[in-house]
Amino acid sequence: MTKLLVIVGVLFLVSGQVFAIDVGQSFEDPELQARYEKIIAEVRCLKCQNQTIKDSNAFLASDLRREIRRLLEEGKTDDEIYDFLVARYGDFALYRPRTSGRTLILWIMPMMFVVFGAFALWRVVQRRVALPIDDESMDGS
């Protein structure tokens, strides 16, 4: 029984290889291959929205990987490739949308929350410090 479990466990461990998508080396040049892998991990598969095109086997993802390979072979820079995708699919295609008028709010909002939270905290602490310490509240009654 234990033996069987071990075998099944090992099979699960190695099965990742089987399910991985686009595992083959796409470029001879390791530098190009590295850029390719970086880019496909940054691009959203629009058909299956919470996956990158690296993780998806939807035909649209494989088409987009093919286009990215073609653009890399043509000697395009990373920025030119991202521009190609944004021009067709919009900012949503990139997992890290660029800062532009339209996406500015995405980048600024979290900072605003932090600043607002810090301010609120400061106000509360100020008020607490200013409160008179009387015995009644110290007793917790």
Binding site: K47, F59, D63
Partner: protein
């Protein structure tokens, strides 16, 4: 007073954000092609691989470009309406057969009817990418200067047509 106003204001703001955010459909992504020149392309025709068809087929007139495939259930749903539109003859409909296979697509047009002035056969999906296609059916309204003025994702029907397309077409015709 401000003790209540600030949380109330924050709450209303949050409600507004949720109302907008939760009623948006994340599967409908605004197309960056809107108000921009439509892709210029040329592909083998679905009917005859030796004949090239493409954006030249609808140059100098307002047209619909419909991205469809036989694997797409929504395309079957809208097909009847496309046939009606074609019969009315007010606007040419160009078909981009996307990521499909030729025999199935031809069979489809034969049995269901062919609303298209021409059908391009985009077997590897390259032209589809130029149109920013990610889920058929998608329908683009292109004006006579080749500018995309509307994109509809999901099956088309009379109601959507009257509501979203007709006013845009009327407005453009008034200008031209």
């Amino acid at each position: 007073m401000s003790k209540f106003l600030i949380p109330l204001f924050a709450f209303l703001l949050l409600v507004a954000v949720f109302v907008v955010g939760l009623t948006m459909d994340p599967s409908r992504i605004p197309s960056p092609l809107l108000e921009n020149p439509a892709p210029v392309f040329s592909l083998p025709s679905l009917q005859d691989p030796a004949v090239e068809v493409g954006s030249a087929n609808y140059a100098n007139s307002m047209a619909l470009v419909n991205i469809w495939a036989t694997w797409c259930a929504g395309c079957r749903q809208e097909h009847g309406f496309l046939l009606e539109l074609a019969r009315e003859g007010d606007i040419p409909i160009f078909g981009l057969n996307w990521r499909d296979n030729r025999p199935d697509a031809l069979q489809w047009l034969q049995t269901l009817g062919d609303p298209y002035i021409a059908s391009a056969f985009d077997v590897d999906g390259r032209v589809g990418i130029d149109w920013g296609a990610y889920g058929a059916p998608e329908t683009f309204l292109v004006d006579r200067n080749g500018v995309v003025i509307h994109k509809h994702i999901a099956p088309l029907n009379r109601e959507i047509w009257e509501r979203d397309f007709v006013p845009l077409i009327r407005a453009r015709e008034g200008v031209e």
